[in-house]
């Protein structure tokens, strides 16, 4: 602890101990605890207490019956726990203080116990303290374990949950000691404390009260999830019969907690020595309702090692709802079934829940599980791609009312799913993920057909449309032949024509979200296939490019931003027709560059301007024709607009653009300095486009990312202009005074000052004279680094109270 803090500490302790001086801010106490934790982790707690007796005095003070706030009491409990984590310090405090704080005669028996924050502080204090064998003895002697048991059922969920975790921690601590060197212990050899806890858990598991069973299951889930000692295997041997007995109950108590426990055990080291677990899991899978079994099945399938039979069963459980959907439409006999050979048991089509919300929930969660499973290496193999595709398509058809159900169940399903946006979204996401695999030709045709139905349907909600666009893009990407090739296959080419017709209509939608996702889709398609002849032909034959550029004037800023991106992309590929609106059919036509510059300089919203900057950056990087014609003029115009922009992201983008320009002039790849001739030429160009004024000004920008970016830019430039190549050496020293004066004023906040003409030599001289590294380091610090020091914290607490004191004095 630094001396200044040590000096402030007694005053702090006095303030904390004084009930008349409440600490206004709760977070101060949390920060103090964090600080003490850091201090004790770095050195000896005992020494700390001996050097600062005020701390022990504070703890003793808390013991006295008085009107201390519950927050301070809770703080003291946690603080004492932090100190007592070290065994020697624990012994130092053990005599009177610890029993007083954590024992029956402490807050436990007092009125303060009614405050949840005190109970929580008590638990957390013990959690910190329980780090060594002496602590175990203390816990056993003070009767704390029983209190923890009762706190498991605390009305405050935070307290109850913390009590469960403390129990696991104590159990682990108790088992860790004797287990060392002995390997697995028999239950009768477990330490007394552990036996008590296990006994308690057994009682809970046998209880008729569901909340007690749930508590025990939560504790066990945490234990198997966080403790990795061999003893966990013994624990499972001991408790698994009780867990198995829970499965036989009807109704099964706490099914969700049970699933969590089984998955937690399955992920631990238990299964390696105890294959019986798999039987329990299999039994659970067959006993749970489809909705409850889903998470267990998905969890099992994500395991790395697990018996094949169980995986097959789990996959069967997961697939069953989809199999029911397929069954409900009685797919043509040729279609492969989903569960052929998977589960083996006869499938009950009416397993789908009768209520709409339950059925929708089941389908959505099934689709989400399968979606997560699909990309995993351990996903079930063979992966039933074709039936899954068929199921996704069928669900989507149920949702838009176009599926023809073949049974009464199908009719019911149709009535439940029709128009259900939730299922539509889940199924479209899943369909998109399935594009990673191939499918039979007819099915892929169906996929495109159903996607087109959704894109065309006036009833598709904006979010559904967005997902339909995304899924369509993924399927178009995957249907390239051969994979990875740019060309669209003939079928996709056909789809494309219809797609553009739909897109045309969607870009005219009165709903801005729809116009926006339509434009995004167009941008992505163009990025991917803009160079392909078939695509270009179809696109140019449609109204889409014209509509896209008309949307640059859209009233909604998000749409304008997307239109900027789309226009940028179309223009890059030479696909942008000159925009003309029916209002000004014969008006002067602007080039795309002019259009986007207009957006950058005049748009009132940030998003379109940022989008324009991104497009310009891309154009510069890719050597767009409009840029290449006169790169300096382009840079000058864009930088001028960006430097004056109110949006810091636009300014950062401007600096990014400048950096690319610089790299293009000086060569980004080659390390080290640029050749002197090239450098001089580049510097002159940079001066002409007024890059330096922008960069220097940005160094003092009130938005840190702008200053950082500018710093990086100037550092890059300085590295390129090595001292040897300095023009300064060639002749007289340049006049840097006006530049430095301007910098001074900017630093002082007078941003209005212009810099005027700059000579390249002066720039280099200024650049060398500046301590850019130091500036970069300062900027790298978070803005509150000064305020976060412990000393500042202590001063803050004292100052806050001091202010209170002043007021008190004023009153008299």
């Amino acid at each position: 602890m630094d001396p200044e803090c040590a000096r402030l500490l007694p005053a702090l302790c006095a303030v904390l101990a004084d009930p008349r001086q409440p600490v206004a801010d709760d977070t101060c106490l949390e920060k103090l605890l964090d600080w003490f934790k850091a201090v004790t982790e770095a050195g000896s707690s005992l020494l700390l207490l001996q050097e600062n007796p005020c701390l022990v005095e504070l703890l003793f003070h808390v013991l006295k019956p008085q009107d201390l706030s519950s927050r301070i009491l809770s703080f003291a409990l946690r603080l004492a726990g932090t100190f007592a984590a070290q065994e020697n310090c624990f012994q130092y405090l053990q005599g009177e203080l610890l029993p007083g704080l954590f024992g029956e005669h402490g807050p436990l028996g007092a009125a303060a116990w009614a405050a949840p924050t005190v109970r929580s502080g008590w638990i957390q204090g013990l959690r910190s303290l329980a780090q060594h064998p002496s602590a175990l003895l203390f816990l056993a002697d003070s009767g704390a374990v029983d209190t923890i048991f009762s706190l498991q059922g605390d009305p405050s969920l935070f307290v109850a949950s913390a009590a469960g975790q403390l129990l696991v921690h104590v159990l682990d601590l108790a088992m860790r000691g004797p287990a060392k060197g002995h390997g697995r212990l028999q239950a009768q050899d477990w330490p007394a404390c552990a036996q008590r806890i296990v006994c308690h858990l057994e009682d809970c598991l046998c209880s008729e009260a569901a909340p007690r069973v749930t508590q025990a299951l939560h504790v066990l889930t945490t234990a198997f999830g966080h403790c990795h000692g061999l003893w966990t295997q013994g624990l499972w041997v001991q408790l698994s019969p009780l867990v198995a007995r829970l499965l036989e109950k009807d109704p099964m108590p706490a099914p969700h907690a049970l699933v969590e426990l089984l998955l937690s055990v399955a992920r631990s080291s238990v299964p390696s020595s105890n294959p019986g677990l798999w039987e329990t899991a299999a039994q659970t899978l067959s006993r749970l309702s489809p909705m409850q079994a889903g998470p267990l099945a998905a969890g099992i399938l994500k395991l790395q090692d697990c018996p094949q039979a169980l995986r097959t069963q789990a996959f069967g459980v997961l697939l069953r709802p989809l199999a029911c959907v397929l069954e409900a439409t009685a797919q043509a006999p040729g279609t492969p079934g989903l569960l052929e050979g998977a589960a083996g048991d006869p499938m009950a089509v009416d397993m789908l829940p009768p209520s709409k919300s339950a059925c929708v929930g089941l389908l959505c969660s099934t689709l989400a599980h399968l979606e997560l499973l699909q990309p995993l290496p351990q996903r079930p193999s063979p992966w039933p791609q074709a039936p899954l595709l068929a199921a996704a398509v069928t669900i989507l058809r149920f949702c838009n009312g176009s599926a023809a159900p073949s049974s009464e169940v199908g009719g019911r399903l149709c009535a439940m799913l029709v128009g259900c946006v939730r299922v539509q979204r889940a199924a479209l996401d899943f369909l998109g993920v399935l594009s990673q695999g191939l499918g039979p030709r007819e099915l892929v045709t169906q996929v495109f057909a159903v996607l087109l139905e959704y894109l065309m349907s006036p009833d598709s909600s904006p979010t559904v449309l967005k997902k339909a666009f995304q899924a369509t893009l993924r399927w178009l990407l995957s249907s390239a032949v051969p994979p990875g090739c740019c060309d669209l296959e003939p079928r996709a080419q056909l789809v494309l024509r219809e797609l553009l017709a739909v897109l045309q209509k969607r870009l005219c939608s009165p709903c801005w979200e729809v116009r926006d996702s339509g434009l995004e889709f167009l941008t992505q398609m163009t990025r991917r296939w803009g160079g392909q002849a078939g695509f270009r032909q179809t696109l140019l034959a449609s109204e889409v490019p014209k509509l896209a550029s008309q949307l640059l004037q859209d009233p909604e800023s998000y749409v304008r931003a997307s239109a900027v991106a789309a226009a940028g992309q179309l223009s890059s590929q030479g696909l942008l027709a000159a925009p003309s609106s029916p209002e000004h059919p014969a008006g002067p036509q602007k080039t795309p560059l002019e259009e986007l510059l207009l957006v950058l300089t005049t748009d009132s919203e940030g998003f379109p301007r940022r989008a324009a900057m991104r497009v310009f950056t891309e154009w510069l990087r890719d050597g767009h024709m409009a840029v290449a014609e006169d790169r300096e003029r382009f840079m000058a115009r864009v930088l001028q607009a960006a430097s004056g922009d109110l949006d810091w992201e636009v300014r950062v983008q401007g600096l990014e653009l400048a950096l690319i320009f610089l790299q293009q002039l000086l060569g980004a790849r080659s390390p080290g300095a640029a050749p002197p001739g090239a450098l001089a030429q580049a510097l002159r160009a940079l001066c002409r486009v007024q890059l330096f004024e922008f960069a220097f000004r940005s160094l003092f920008d009130c938005d840190r990312p702008v200053a950082q970016k500018s710093c990086d830019l100037l550092l890059f430039l300085r590295a390129k202009a090595a001292p040897s190549s300095s023009p300064q050496e060639a002749g007289d020293s340049p006049d840097v005074a006006p530049v430095e004066a301007a910098l001074q004023r900017w630093r002082a906040g007078e941003q209005g000052q212009p810099l005027g003409e700059l000579a390249p030599e002066a720039v280099l001289a200024v650049l060398r004279s500046m301590d850019l590294e130091a500036l970069r380091d300062t900027l790298a610090e978070s803005s509150d680094h000064v305020e976060r020091s412990p000393q500042s914290l202590l001063q803050d607490v004292l100052a806050a109270v001091g202010v209170l004191g002043d007021n008190e004095a004023d009153c008299y």
């Binding site: 009312g401 599926a403 023809a404 159900p405 199908g410 009719g411 019911r412 149709c414 009535a415 029709v418 128009g419 349907s457 006036p458 009833d459 598709s460 045309q504 209509k505 969607r506 005219c508 939608s509 009165p510 709903c511 729809v514 109204e543 014209k546 509509l547 008309q550 004037q553 859209d554 009233p555 909604e556 609106s581 029916p582 209002e583």
Partner: protein, 658 residues
């Protein structure tokens, strides 16, 4: 209580309800789909239409070729269009006491009923319904009268000939009853019989029933009706909407506790969501205009057009269409646009508040002010001077058989740049387009029907919980084209009763009570006796006086003093013989205690048998049988009157007398 179903069209209903002693006609819808069988009436001579070939029978017989013309494989009647009227034979319409109109679309058959059936009653409707209904009728008459057609085809209606015709003429129903359009004189006469009502106004019909219009949320002034007596309530739901459009929201709460709910006028396109359709409408409109094409919107002069104009008002600027002219052409265009602005009290809350700003409730006023929307009575006159393309034209009639729309179909049909957008759901767009085929113009079908869909109906029924639901048969099964969509039908318990055209339904509830007033002086004389806590009984002797369906109990006239010959005679006529009244009995006889009492009084050898209705107590010794049932007790003994009286007194001990 009976319901006579005169129309089979679920959204253009015409039913007659006989309730208590009243005969109430519910709506008076006119099925205009019959006009689809006729050739369009062009405003300007159309060489294409006049040169269509006549139709001949398969055997080459051409006797019908003057009446029937063929166009692209369809056969049309070349005559003045005719309408399919409600049934007039099922019930004598001169006995109808009142007609309740629920909205302006459901009154189009009114002149046929009020002017040609001997109807002498009153018609009730709200003011906007009458005013806008008048506009619709005026437009209809105008459309048909301004293109006089000499020919009137009737040969094809002959049943033997009709059988030989191709579909759909062959299957047209009751063609012999189809009638030409009414005249303006008939319209005026019919409308003069209407009495205006306001929402929640209670109207007494002959003292027997009370009818009340409630806001139905579908159109300006549209109503549902409550028809109730003191103990029965019938709700008539016709053309209601829960969407937020321009009219006042629907009043659902007042429909609660109905014995019967007659449900008509649900959405005709249950699979199309109006919001999606409006989006579709705007997108297609913008797309066409941006490509330099014209947009034709066949529509009625009132209703959805207000909402469409409002959407366009918000949309045209964002879509860059502010320089595109919008034309609204109808003989009643001006009145319709202006009427909509003056019915503030009938509008939704949002629009009502605008009136106080003061601002016109509908934004089409601004469109007119800024010259973006222009309206004309017809294509002749000013319109031809102002006409500029590309443009958007709203005009009637949605059947495409008469009105200015016929002209635009002929004018724009040949270019694929143009688009016709169907927004009215009343006519099949394919049938409407049939006489214009082949057609290059694009056709978009976005029917906007804001009336209740089946999900909303099932929620409504759950909430208002009527005992019985009666609806057109079309609502009790999924649409024929989508037989798997079981969600597209009325789902309620007990299942809805369905009706079809020309059917008479006996509504499933019996009237059990009638309210009777007691005169104060008679009430004064009553002596109630409490037989159970909270329930008292009293005997009444009175004269029941019934007049105008009101029942009053009056004190019986006092026995007249014999004062004079003439008077005395009259008095004796009036006064019924007042016998000494036996006391009334109430209560029940507990068998066990009764047996104990019998034993106490010396009867022995008593046997009790249980029967379905009660008990039989056998006094074997006395050869007597006492039969105790819920509402009677019989003592059967052999001529032993003393024994009978003794037993009777024992029975009476258990009963209360008053």
């Amino acid at each position: 209580m009976k319901l006579y179903c005169l129309s089979g069209h679920p959204t253009l209903p015409c039913n007659v309800l006989k309730f208590k002693s009243t005969t109430i006609m519910l709506d008076c819808g006119l099925d205009m789909t019959s006009t689809l069988n006729f050739l369009p009436l062009p405003l300007v001579q159309s060489p294409r239409l006049s040169n269509l070939p006549g139709w001949s029978l398969k055997d080459g017989n051409v006797f019908l070729d003057k009446e029937l013309k063929e166009c692209s494989g369809h056969v049309f009647v070349d005559s003045v269009p005719e309408f399919c009227l409600p049934e007039t034979e099922l019930i004598d319409l001169s006995t109808v006491d009142v007609i309740l109109i629920s909205n302006y679309h459901c009154m189009m058959a009114l002149p046929y009923i009020t002017e040609h059936t001997g109807f002498t009653g009153t018609v009730y409707a709200t003011e906007p319904t009458v005013q806008i209904g008048r506009l619709l009728m005026e437009e209809l008459v105008n459309f048909i009268e301004r293109v006089p057609k000499a020919q009137s085809a009737s040969l094809w209606k002959n049943k033997d000939i009709q059988r030989l015709l191709p579909s759909p003429l062959k299957d047209a129903v009751e063609v012999s009853t189809w009638r030409r359009c009414y005249t303006m004189q008939e319209v005026n006469s019919a409308l003069s019989k209407i009495q205006l009502v306001g929402y929640s106004q209670k109207i007494e019909l002959f003292g027997a029933v009370q009818v009340t219009p409630l806001s139905s949320g579908y159109a300006l002034g549209s109503s549902n009706w409550i028809i109730q007596s003191h103990y029965e309530k019938v709700s008539y739901v016709s053309g209601s909407s829960l969407l937020t459009t321009h009219p006042q929201p629907m009043d659902q709460a007042s429909l609660k506790n109905s014995d019967v709910l007659i449900l008509t006028g649900l959405t005709q396109i249950p699979t199309a969501n109006p919001d999606g359709m409006v989006g579709e409408f705007c997108s297609n409109l913008a797309l066409t205009v941006r490509n330099g094409g014209n947009v034709l919107v066949p529509c009625y002069p009132s209703g959805v057009i207000y909402d469409l104009l409002e959407c366009l008002y918000q949309y045209i600027d964002s879509a860059g269409l502010s320089s595109i002219p919008f034309y609204f052409i109808s003989p009643v265009a001006n009145s319709s646009l202006e009427f909509s602005q003056i019915f503030a009290e009938w509008l939704c809350h949002n629009k009502q508040t605008k009136v106080y700003l003061p601002e016109p409730p509908f934004p089409h006023a601004e469109l007119i002010q800024t010259n973006k929307l222009k309206h004309y009575p017809s294509i002749h006159g000013d319109f031809s001077n102002d006409f500029r393309q590309p443009c958007v034209v709203f005009t009637g009639h949605p059947s495409l058989r008469f009105g200015d729309v016929v002209h635009f179909m002929e004018l724009w049909g040949k270019s694929s740049l143009n688009t016709v957008i169907f927004t009215e759901p009343d006519f099949s767009y394919l049938e409407a387009l049939a006489p214009y085929q082949p057609l290059a113009m694009k056709c978009i079908y976005c029917p906007i029907d804001t009336r209740l869909n089946f999900i909303q109906v099932s929620k409504l029924l759950k909430e208002v919980q009527p005992l019985h639901v009666v609806c057109p048969e079309q609502y009790t099964q999924p649409p024929p084209a989508q037989s798997h969509r079981v969600d597209l039908m009325v789902d309620c318990q007990p299942p809805a009763m369905s009706y079809r055209r020309a059917e008479v339904l006996a509504l499933p509830f019996k009237r059990r009570y009638e309210k009777i007033e007691i005169m104060p002086e008679l009430a004064d004389s009553l002596v109630p006796m409490e037989i159970k806590p909270g329930i008292s009984l009293a005997t009444v002797s009175a004269v029941l006086h019934t007049k105008d369906n009101k029942h009053v109990l009056q004190p019986p006239p006092r026995p007249a003093q014999p004062t004079g010959g003439k008077k005395r005679k009259r008095a004796s006529d009036d006064i019924p013989d007042c016998k000494v009244l036996k006391p009334l009995l109430s209560g029940s006889i507990p068998v066990d205690q009764f047996v104990q009492t019998l034993e106490k009084h010396g009867f022995s050898d008593i046997k009790v048998e249980d029967t379905a209705k009660g008990h039989i107590v056998l006094l074997q010794e006395a050869e007597t049988l006492i039969q105790i049932e819920e509402d009677s007790t019989h003592i059967i003994c052999d001529d032993d009157e003393v024994l009978r009286v003794r037993l009777r007194d024992l029975v009476l001990k258990f009963l209360q007398k008053f």
